[in-house]
């Protein structure tokens, strides 16, 4: 019997895995068999389509279709290996229900239409609304999954053409708090460190981040570091025991919202026991106090100004005196002596400390504050801006950094850390865009929650949603859609004209008046920017299905119909537009390389100066913008000094009570990414992970008479759904807490979430609200 194609494929699969771990010599199979599997397959590189880690993938194309993917051995992020989400790359583009033609709602039904018909309708609605109600009556809701140039096109059209700042991304829901703290601490967004710190450090303190499931490739790098260096320690602080906790050296549970007290107490001990680095503090920092008793965003149009008052170090120490470990223990549940121990770990001069966090800290009604406090830990101890010891805020989408943050697709931002409120920034932008002075409005556009509240109130008449699924992912969903409606049901609540561009039907397309079929990932050329400032490019490899078109084309077609086509005069679109965008970055310390540089490399971490990437920002010897002889220099901050903020404890927006006695926390699972519009496409997958379940602590379940797999009604003050109880699942919430993943479009847990948000970042708190559970 001869060797079949299947034998070749299996041999190749094994050989690739051996090679990925540098063990090809140990492969017992004959050389040559594996290579035959690649016959006729053309390989090219692209960053992974899913999370913010930015793994490099080799994509194999044969006969115009993707037939294989590999972890890219040349990819410095993932070094030849992908996480389980790599399996879904194959399916993300080829689901049977892919959108392939524009659809327009006629008499309540979506009917196929030509692109011209759909775009003419959109343009007429936008024109009418702008003429009758002004430019702020139209809006764009985008995505951290937009490519850099998709985001840039939207910002240029809306801010530079239409004259409204009504553009905000779904990244507002996931890392706006990180942005807020980077800006008010360092004067510039995005981290000083990079993934190399995962290999070079010896202590990793995780604050509410389930990295083993949400960022598995990075978690594996830390674990690999520990395998090689037994002194490496991983400490997992969280409100739920997870797969991360299982592998950590220590799991320290805390009560929801307890991080705000716990970190303050750790700082208290660092100050009390003089564990700080006085010389570093004197040279590199200033102390500030912000506005306290801040609101929670529960009222529409709520405004808040975080006014900074300067403090001396002595005044700061006095303010921190009452925030003792004993005080914090009562709030967070972490024993006082453990908080003291953590302070001494942070202050241990022999250890290289890294703090890591993501949604647990960011999706928090005091999210910017908690980010500030984490930076305080590193600034007070001087463990920052040095190889192997840094704070690292992780992201969840492939270009939350590259697009939402760097391009500035938020309502208040412009490219390269600039903001619409600053006249100089508007002037720079107007000059690069070649538009009349004064075209850009100085009024920040609404943040995501307020944008959809404005749609609900009727203030925004037309909204275009691209590459995201807000009618599943926003908190307090019942405000925006009818409660309890099933997938596919028309559930719109008002007269707003809604356009949704996507690749599959979602809980948002069912709200749309026009649905536009988009090209995705390698069906178009693109650039993403990941968590560690790495800008990565890929070429178009396959054609999109049917009439699907990329999002930039769609936006520019609207621009032409609104009379703003002149904003996009490019002959070679991607290259010319990127070069225009790159002008914003040059000389700012966020410098990008010429477009063609990215064709070959597996990304470069900005600033890219004289052709070289920068691994550690603000660090002498790594960042050329740092003055020689100074070591670390926060050159983007006022007077080159980072801010250490006093941020006290303030309670959550809603806490369990007699009526709603349990906490609800929402989050992610390894197998399903966000709202699962890509990972949930395949029926078999839904058999493997059929529906979202509510994880309950066994003692809480016993009190309620609930057994594992019972059907239960879960209710908050905002909504109620029936789901399955899970007592012995992969994750185990602490007593008094529950957990539900938000991927399931049939069990939209966000109907129950409170739409309270951080007053500085405007990022909602998806991690804490009060619920009750009843057995059905």
């Amino acid at each position: 019997m001869g060797v079949t194609r299947r034998d070749f494929l299996k041999a190749s699969a094994a050989a690739t895995a051996f090679a990925a771990v540098g063990a090809s010599a140990l492969n017992p199979l004959k050389a040559g068999i594996a290579e035959a599997a690649d016959d006729g397959i053309k390989w090219d590189k692209a960053p992974c389509r899913y999370c913010g880690v930015g793994c490099s993938v080799l994509v194999g194309v044969k006969g115009g279709k993707i037939v294989a993917t590999k972890g890219d051995p040349a990819g410095p992020v993932n070094r030849g290996l992908n996480c389980v989400k790599g399996y879904f790359l194959s399916k993300a583009l080829y689901g049977k229900d892919r959108l392939t033609t524009p659809l327009i709602r006629k008499n309540g039904k979506m009917v196929p239409a030509s692109w011209d018909e759909a775009l003419d309708l959109i343009a007429s609605k936008f024109k009418d609304s702008i003429a009758k109600n002004g430019p702020n009556s139209v809006a764009m809701y985008g995505s951290g999954q937009w490519t850099v140039l998709e985001g840039y096109t939207a910002v240029k059209l809306f801010k530079g053409g239409i004259g409204t700042n009504n553009v905000d991304p779904n990244a507002r829901l996931c890392m706006a708090s990180a942005v807020g703290a980077f800006m008010n601490t360092f004067g510039s967004d995005e981290p000083m460190g990079c993934y190399d710190d995962l290999d070079l450090g010896d202590t990793y303190i995780l604050w509410g981040a389930n990295m083993a499931e949400a960022h598995p490739v990075l978690y594996s790098r830390m674990i690999d570091n520990r395998l090689k260096h037994p002194n490496v320690k991983i400490i997992d602080l969280g409100t739920r025991w997870t797969r991360t906790s299982q592998q950590a050296d220590e799991y320290i549970p805390f009560k929801p919202h307890g991080d705000l007290a716990a970190i303050n107490a750790i700082i208290h001990v660092i100050l009390r026991d003089k564990l700080y680095d006085q010389a570093f503090i004197d040279k590199n920092t200033v102390f500030k106090r912000g506005t306290e008793n801040a609101p929670y965003g529960l009222k529409d149009k709520e405004s808040f100004d975080d006014v900074a008052k300067p403090l001396t170090f002595e005044q700061y120490k006095e303010l921190m005196k009452p925030l003792t470990p004993e005080w914090a223990e009562k709030i967070c549940g972490i024993p006082a002596k453990k908080l003291v121990e953590l302070a001494h770990i942070y202050g241990d001069k022999t250890r290289k400390i890294n703090s890591l966090w993501t949604m647990g800290v960011n999706q928090h009604v005091r999210g910017t504050w908690v980010n500030n406090l984490l930076y305080n830990l590193h600034l007070l101890t001087g463990k920052i801006g040095r190889p192997g010891e840094n704070p690292l805020s992780l992201t969840g989408q492939p270009s939350a950094c590259g697009t939402a943050r760097e391009v500035g697709t938020f309502g208040h931002r412009l490219p390269a850390d600039m903001v619409v409120m600053n006249p100089k920034h508007r002037e720079i932008t107007e000059k690069i865009w070649g538009i009349p002075a004064g075209r850009i409005s100085p009024k920040p556009g609404p943040h995501a929650t307020e944008m959809f509240r404005a749609v609900d109130r009727g203030d925004i008449k037309c909204i275009w949603i691209q590459c995201t699924n807000p009618y599943q992912s926003l908190p307090n969903l019942n405000r925006y859609r009818k409660a309890g409606d099933k997938p596919g049901t028309y559930a719109k609540k008002n007269d707003a004209f809604i356009v949704v561009s996507d690749i599959y039907p979602t809980r948002s397309t069912e709200m749309a008046d026009v649905i536009l079929p988009s090209a995705s990932w390698v069906e178009k050329e693109g650039v993403f920017g990941n968590t560690e400032r790495r800008t990565q490019h890929w070429f178009k490899m396959v054609e999109p299905p049917g009439q699907a078109k990329n999002d930039t084309w769609q936006l520019i077609e609207l621009a032409k119909r609104l009379g703003h086509g002149g904003l996009f005069p490019y002959k070679h679109f991607d290259k010319e537009m990127f070069e225009e965008y790159r002008q914003f970055t040059i000389g700012t310390g966020k410098d990008l390389a010429p477009y063609e540089t990215y064709y070959k490399v597996r990304g470069l971490r900005w600033p890219v100066i004289n052709g070289k990437e920068t691994r550690w920002r603000y660090a002498e010897g790594h960042d050329p913008k740092v003055t020689k002889g100074v070591g670390v220099e926060f050159y983007k901050a006022p007077n080159k000094k980072a801010s250490i903020w006093f941020r006290p404890y303030e309670p959550p927006a809603e806490s369990p009570d007699m009526e709603y006695p349990l906490w609800l926390c929402t989050g992610r699972l390894l197998e399903h990414w966000h709202t699962a519009t890509m990972t949930g496409r395949v029926p078999e997958l839904k058999r493997a992970m059929p529906e979202a379940v509510i994880e309950i602590h066994p003692e809480d379940a016993k009190k309620l008479g609930i057994k594992s797999r019972d059907q239960v009604r879960v209710s908050s003050r905002r909504g109620s759904i029936v789901m399955t109880a899970e007592l012995n699942g992969r994750g185990k919430p602490e007593k008094g807490s529950t957990f539900v993943a938000f991927f399931d479009e049939t069990k939209m847990i966000n109907e129950l979430c409170i739409d309270a948000f951080c007053p500085i970042s405007k990022e909602p708190d998806f991690k804490k609200c009060a619920i009750k559970i009843q057995k059905v």
């Binding site: 299947r6 494929l9 299996k10 190749s12 699969a13 094994a14 050989a15 690739t16 895995a17 051996f18 090679a19 990925a20 771990v21 063990a23 140990l26 492969n27 017992p28 199979l29 599997a37 194999g60 044969k62 279709k65 037939v67 294989a68 993917t69 590999k70 972890g71 030849g80 290996l81 992908n82 996480c83 389980v84 790599g86 399996y87 879904f88 790359l89 194959s90 399916k91 083993a212 598995p216 490739v217 978690y219 594996s220 674990i223 690999d224 395998l227 797969r243 592998q247 197998e671 395949v682 078999e684 997958l685 058999r687 493997a688």
Partner: protein
């Protein structure tokens, strides 16, 4: 049928035990146990989601730290 090549990382000293258990799963072929507690295996199933379900089962084996995907062929799916 899709085919994938994977790398299992195991707790120190557990790789042989994990490899034995993994090999019992229908659809998993163990191709090598490496000195650094890593296992090379090939996964095949009728569907991609069958592969994912197998990987999940591997995750549940005591001593498995992570399962990573090196390559995925799905030309005939």
């Amino acid at each position: 049928m899709p085919v994938s090549g994977i790398v299992l990382s195991c707790l120190e000293g557990k790789a042989d035990e994990v490899a034995e258990k993994a090999a019992l799963l229908d659809g998993i072929e163990v191709h090598g146990v490496l000195p650094d507690s890593q296992i090379i295996a090939v996964v095949e199933a009728d569907t991609v989601n069958g592969e994912v379900a197998l990987v999940e089962q591997l995750h549940e084996i005591e001593g498995v730290v992570s399962v990573r995907l090196a390559c995925h062929y799905f030309e005939d799916t």
